[in-house]
Amino acid sequence: MKYVGRPIPRVEDELILRGKATYVDDVELPGMLYAGFVRSPYAHARVLKVDFSDVLKTPGVVAAFGPGDGEPFSFAPGGKVRYQGEAVAMVVTRDRYVLYDALEKVAVDYEPLPAVLDINDALRPDAPLVDESLGNNVVHDKVYEGGDPDRALKEADVVVEGRFATQRIIPSAMEPRGVVAAYDGDVLTIWSSTQVPFDVRKEVAKALGLPLSRVRAIQPFVGGAFGSKLLVYPEEVWVATAAYRLKAPVKWVATRSEDFKTTTHGRALTLEYKVGASRDGRILAVTGTVYADAGAYYWGEGLADTAAQMLPGPYDIRHGRVRAVAVLTNKTPLSAYRGAGRPEATLFIERIMDHVADVLGMDRVEIRGRNLIRQLPYRNVFGITYDTGDYPTAFERGLERLGYRDLKRWADEEAKRGRIIGVGFSVYVEITTFGYETAVLRAERDGSFTLYTALTPHGQGLATALAQVLADELEVPMERIKVYWGDTAYVGDGIGTMGSRSITAGGSAAILAARRLKEELAKATEKLLGCKPVYSGGIFQCGGNSVTIEEVVKAVYRGKAEAQLTVEAIYRADATFPFGVHVAAVELDPETGFVRPLLYRSYDDVGVVVNPLLAAGQAIGGALQGIAQALYEEAVYDESGNLLTPNLAFYYVPTAAEAPRYEVHFADEPHPSKHPTGTKGIGEAATIASTPAVVMAVEDAMRRLKPGVRIDETPITPEDVWRHLR
């Protein structure tokens, strides 16, 4: 009857496939008002005056809020806007079409200020200041150090220096952000397209001085997030405040261009590196600086730091010093995007391995084999302890299973026929899981079970995976378990779905809750049968008597025995570390520079795989996002700070036509984490691994035409390829 490990289709699909899943824009309440925001066309400007006199005379306009309205309406803090799209005022109307007319009628006087768009410009002493209170544009600067990097560099046979830059990515969840809030005079309820309803509730309660018990945040179905919905955004507080003050339901849903300008961007980290290696290819020291182009507000704390601390990757490097610097610019704030610092760390170290291999004239597989960590657990040079795994074996087996060497031979064969095919691979170790997570489990009187999880799934299929985990622990059919999520009325506090932590943190919390519930029911059974029972397959047995779990639950509900029928478990989940090898093949058209991804294959040791169908879904979808980082996507600004890629017509999210054929493998001998689920997380692995694999493949293809070409930034557009090959 074991469910864990089986490719079970999702229980969530019934609603989705019938078009009945309720996303935030589908929430309808009587008397709904519609909110919208007046947003700055300038990247950097003083806001001199916001004039509502025209808009308030417009039929259908209910209210307008601006910088003069006090907290929590924190429009244009310090009297200025710092990026194009930053809100300066809010208008509330009775009708959506009236709303967009009304927004045009708010007159704002701006005094444009010089904008700073590039981190190098931002670091100059005479640079315009994004935040005057800092005195410069450096908002964060921290050094991570271990061993004796200076000595190691001195003693190295070769020292290799370089720079690698990643572009700004717009996360582009298909559902733009949106909020509905309603206040009935007693409880303030917020529906938000978010990954963090618990944080939304806390922030709104704090802003309005309400007790948490009178604020309820609901996460309806969420149409994708990828880390871009894990902060509480100002609009969530503002819409809730408008609903509270107006005592009416208020809805705001971003237009796509509004979403692109105001939902956090990702990546945009650059590494300047200097590494030392021995002649035989051992990396002795890694040093450098990671710069984050943080945008206008430092919301993306820790991105450069994660990239710095994970820079050694799966390699045994004993000396290191990496500085993590975040620089403010007049652009949309930077924050998490699927992987959040780990994709950059992996891309950087994989590029460094290739760079050193080139300098030494070594094979790219060989240099990695020489440096891989041999013994786990392993404490990396910056103090992060990788938990379990066998990297050398998984690396070799992965390359073999994925057919890396066969693909290289095939590319050689095809080259004879004039096709330019490049093959690349990447190796990664990923840090996942943090914090705590909450599960509330209730035994129902008919023998079914209700799980309320603090996880906040938005496509991962966690209702299915959690039911599988619980069904095994409770030894009951999966159909008897119903999982609810995304409502602070169910669970007091929690974190949510992000960082590949869900099944490990939330699943383990569910297992602990199930164990506690079984203990409670065993206590009740002891009272009923007069002896200590043993539980198996839904039945308690002792002294030749047996009762089913539902009989015990029913007896407790009728007061015949005492037990907790609703139990809560809060699980602290420390970090765990997936490892894997991925392979990519691309075809390059030398005439146009156009690169087509042909196939993508992954081999991951993610510990226990709860549901291979869903895990493969994460791997495939994650891979295309990383491939798109390598080849297609980039948020482009002009020198005045206008976002030139403000919607999906200009910003290139790949279509079905760009997707390669994927093959997903999980390790033959997985190394489980120490968590009750044994899982390590699969949500971000392929996004992390795919960018460096594709970059290597493109470089491999280009070198067939021009030996020695090196890629030092993403994306590699057809124009870049063409320029490199000229």
């Binding site: 824009d25 079409y97 969840a173 559902e175 149409g223 997707a659």
Partner: protein
């Protein structure tokens, strides 16, 4: 302006402003499966079948659809149910936001008698999906199309 729409076989007569988009009228009529993901007719989440052809309903004025026969992802017949089954088995939906557009487009492709994987891929390329990497959607449609 008064217009008449037949949606999934049900006749609706509505009074609309001339500037109102079809997607908004459909959503206000309760067809919430028709979703808005962009402002530029790029994402395809709002794709419906209008007189037998897939259209992005954010790019059609409601008045242009006067008298039209419209099908949305809420529709049920043998082909649509087969697609639902295949989408479920292949794990072709994740967050689900694009799924309505995928289903209506897939329905059109299957009904039209799509002949090859290339045609499936090309046919689906007007609907963006950020979660799935497309492969499972392509496989689900191929299965129902008998490819």
């Amino acid at each position: 302006m008064k217009i008449a729409l037949r949606v999934n076989g049900v006749l609706h007569e509505v009074d609309v402003e001339p500037r109102k988009l079809l997607v908004h009228v459909l959503r206000e009529l309760g067809y919430k499966s028709v979703r808005v993901g962009c402002d530029t007719a790029t994402c395809g989440s709002c794709t419906v079948l209008m007189d037998g052809r897939p259209v992005k309903s954010c790019n059609v004025l409601a008045v242009q659809a006067d008298g039209a026969e419209i099908y949305t992802a809420d529709y049920s017949d043998e082909v649509m149910e087969k697609l639902r089954g295949a989408f479920r088995r292949h794990h072709a939906a994740q967050c689900g936001f694009c799924t309505s557009g995928m289903l209506t487009t897939a329905y059109y492709l299957v009904r039209r008698g799509v002949k090859s994987e290339e045609e499936v891929v090309e046919g689906l390329s007007g609907v963006l999906c950020r979660c799935t990497g497309y492969q499972n959607i392509i496989n689900a449609v191929k299965e129902v199309a008998g490819l």
